[in-house]
Symmetry: C2
Subunit: 96 residues, 2 copies
Amino acid sequence: MSKPLDKETLNGWLQAQNGWAKEGNTIAKEYKFPTFRAAIVFLNRVAGLADDMNHHPDIDIRFDKVKLRLSSHDAGGVTERDLKLARAVDHSSSAG
Amino acid sequence: MSKPLDKETLNGWLQAQNGWAKEGNTIAKEYKFPTFRAAIVFLNRVAGLADDMNHHPDIDIRFDKVKLRLSSHDAGGVTERDLKLARAVDHSSSAG
């Protein structure tokens, strides 16, 4: 469960996604919103998902932009858990 | 109003505060909480204050830690507006 994904699997996943990219030991994506307030609403949705999965991304807020970085520290890299949270965020984001 | 503070004024202010320090063109402080959830509650309080003042800090969330960086981009440095928001955050933080 907590083994880092092999390069091929991760690259395949990244190619199929919108906006996620490898950044060091993490996968990262920046989301842009019309307002600071909208960015904070998104952030609270991410926080809820993170708590549900007990898996917490690094989050940087720059006014109307929110950047997420996901990795599994215990595994020392990106695992299936990270992809699961990434998918959940994107699903909630397009749904909301 | 939007002139950067002179070095002496800023240093005097920093010495009188708990945890704020100069970081490049900004003043920065890291807050630590018992849980991720508590960090997010704090973040929402900061967001409310930022919207009230129409002045938005850079915010980095690392699980149970929240780092704020304040500067007045239009003035190219730290102004009275930044100190005002910093004080408001610390006041709300100790009050909450």
